[in-house]
Symmetry: C2
DNA sequence: ACTACCAGTGAGCAATTGCTCAACGGCCGA
DNA sequence: TCGGCCGTTGAGCAATTGCTCACTGGTAGT
């Protein structure tokens, strides 16, 4: 998909001169002179339907070329391909920058713009961790003060890498818009499943995760499995643990939920020690926005996209190209034959991937908080005037 | 007017980056991905109306560029200008050829195409004289046999230049489509007004002119006033007579009705000796198609177009450019202030010029013959299987 | 501070467009 | 020559689009 309408069926060359002339004339009168189909039909002595069919043919054959004069820093074509390939609700690709750091900033900036456009009064956003996610707040500048709630969807990290912590990201975002932040007072990974159970039983923890489960939107980073990934840098997992995950086929994670390159969830012992919003709950969130920008991320992004948990992807150009290259030209067929085309016009807001279809009515931990009805008084709120 | 949608209001450069991005995105989703306005509006969190306004702005500013990939031998821009400038129903411009002869053939060819597209079973065409008109028949090749009637709208010429004679042209056209030809047995110019009256009183003559007056379409040549014009060559008028007309301000004629460069009809003694369909009757004809192609014709074409008698002009590129250059960029204002814009969308088939508005209900010599109801048995018919 | 103005907004409606479907006609094979 | 098939046609209807209008919120000028 490019920013130019393409000629799929038939080509300019396949037209006879007479047809070509007629098509061009009709198109000129309709598209350029802005007459109605009925008028041009009458003018050319055709029925309206015939004129309509000819006009359609004019577009198909390329007699009519519609070109979008997009800003040079937009990558509408890549965005379209990502959307199509992975059935995303939206994809935002930031143009390639000089280095990884600049790429991260660019992605963060675009993510901030996305949030600004899509958050409303009373929105609730579940937030994950990550360097890219952590960079968003600096660019986040909604026009008006926004009564939005940012809630941690994942435990914190023991390491000192503060700005990549969900709690910290929530606080920063809330501050920028005069909203609320609700922290999750728990580490991302605890000792064992039992501690986890106890922790989840705590009102403070359980409640926060319930609020996160009822969010309108989720903002998550896509994590990798390299030795320098966020999990390792922040001290959540050891290098060895990540290496083990890698050996099991893991390519990346969202909120600590690892998947393989095909997007299949990875059952691992770490899962039992994770304090984060479960995937099933994440899937219930209306719009899951994933950000990714580091190098060495294509496999992670590909796996996560294939898992179908993501609705909106914000990514840098390099990763976008790499992901699409790896996914191949027509991966929809390869991954899940018969999946309805993403371009399905009558489609609702679903856009869910093929794996782990959302368990209808299985869990409804928290009442779905909608715009205009802010959640009950969060335990930990900060209002920033 | 070109074959590319133009950016009138505002420009690409005047847009802020954010607006530009939004416009481009919307346009991409709407024009390229073919979503509905409602869908893109929902996708971007806008009201449908707002999306519509933005899309309109996208076209105005040139974010959306619609280009018609016209055949190289089409001059849609010139045709559009002619249509606009002179309020024509249609204009056909043939691409410039190597010489006058080739130009004439090209115009004839395009005129033939026009006739083929617009004539139907039972059509009645009033026909004038001229070299270009005479060249049409050779290219006239309707797909099916066509029960059309071609009727002379003007007397013949004494000279031997047969193929430019109305009767001859009618016969040739009728032959090509298996229709009928109705001849006018009279010279174009007679001795004096009295002879003319006697001639018109003849059933054969009066009847033919009546049929011509009831035609659906007229096919006329635009004549010049140079020493080598059709009138002179065919022997209808002497070189001196034409010189005299020229001295009176005449620039050209249609069916022997001369006009000055402003399109005003020229009262001349020759008028009293002319055996042809009167201008008032010609104006009553639904579609007056004028063909012109010789060099030295721009002034003639300009005058005739300004007279408003012509609905459709078929002309060569060189003359077209010359006429437009002479007419100036906004001649509508100069000629007749307040004349309704030709682009008036709700406009009916009128398209009449400002001079000599059609005298409603003054003359109705012959019942208006419509498609499907062929005229009564013409006196002189030739059927060609 | 008040008021007039004006650009921008969305509801509601009319016009336009796109789609489906039955009917038609031409073409090929029997 | 006949019958079936496929592509084309236009009617009718549903969806989409464009437009008008009353209203709002912000702005600039008393």
């Amino acid at each position: 998909m490019s920013n130019c309408s393409t000629a799929d069926a038939g080509s300019l060359e396949s037209l006879r001169q007479d047809d070509y002339e007629l098509l061009a004339r009709l198109a000129q009168r309709y598209y350029i002179d802005e007459q109605t189909q009925e008028q041009v039909a009458r003018e050319f002595g055709l029925s309206r339907q015939k004129a309509q069919r000819l006009l359609k043919r004019a577009r198909q054959t390329g007699v009519v070329a519609i070109h979008i004069e997009a800003p040079t820093w937009l990558r509408l074509d890549l965005e379209g391909e990502l959307r199509e390939t992975f059935g995303l609700k939206e994809a935002v690709v930031s143009v390639a920058q000089a280095g990884p750091r600049a790429d991260r900033e660019a992605v963060a900036q675009r993510a901030a713009r996305y949030l600004e456009r899509h958050l409303g009064e009373g929105s609730v956003v579940a937030v994950g961790h990550g360097r890219t996610a952590g960079a968003i707040a600096r660019f986040f500048r909604p026009v008006e003060r926004l009564g939005a709630t940012f809630v941690s969807a994942m435990g914190g990290s023991p390491g000192a890498d503060a700005p990549t912590n969900p709690n910290e990201i929530c606080r920063a975002l809330a501050q920028r818009c005069g909203g609320w932040a609700e922290s999750l007072y728990a580490p991302a990974y605890v000792e064992d499943a039992e501690v986890r159970s106890q922790l989840l039983a705590q009102t403070a923890v359980g409640r926060t995760l319930a609020v996160a489960a009822g969010a309108d939107m989720a903002l998550v980073g896509i994590g990798g499995v390299d030795d320098d990934c966020t999990m390792v840098r922040s001290g959540c997992l050891s290098r060895e643990e990540v290496a083990w995950l890698r050996s099991q086929g893991a390519v990346g994670d969202v909120l600590g939920h690892y998947v393989d390159v095909e997007g299949r969830p990875l059952a691992s012992p770490h899962q039992q020690r994770l304090v984060a919003l479960p995937v099933e709950h994440l899937r219930r969130v209306g719009t899951v926005v994933a950000v990714a920008s580091e190098p060495e991320k294509p496999a992670a992004i590909l796996g996560i996209l294939r898992s179908g948990v993501v609705d909106v992807l914000v990514v840098d150009e390099t990763n976008a190209r790499a992901v699409l290259r790896t996914a191949g030209p027509r991966p929809r067929v390869a991954i899940a034959a018969g999946r309805p085309a993403a371009a399905d016009r009558a489609q609702g807001p679903a856009h869910r991937g093929p794996y782990q279809p959302r368990p209808e009515g299985t869990v409804a931990t928290a009442p779905r908080t909608r715009r205009g009805t802010p959640p009950g008084p969060p335990q930990e709120v900060r209002t920033c005037p």
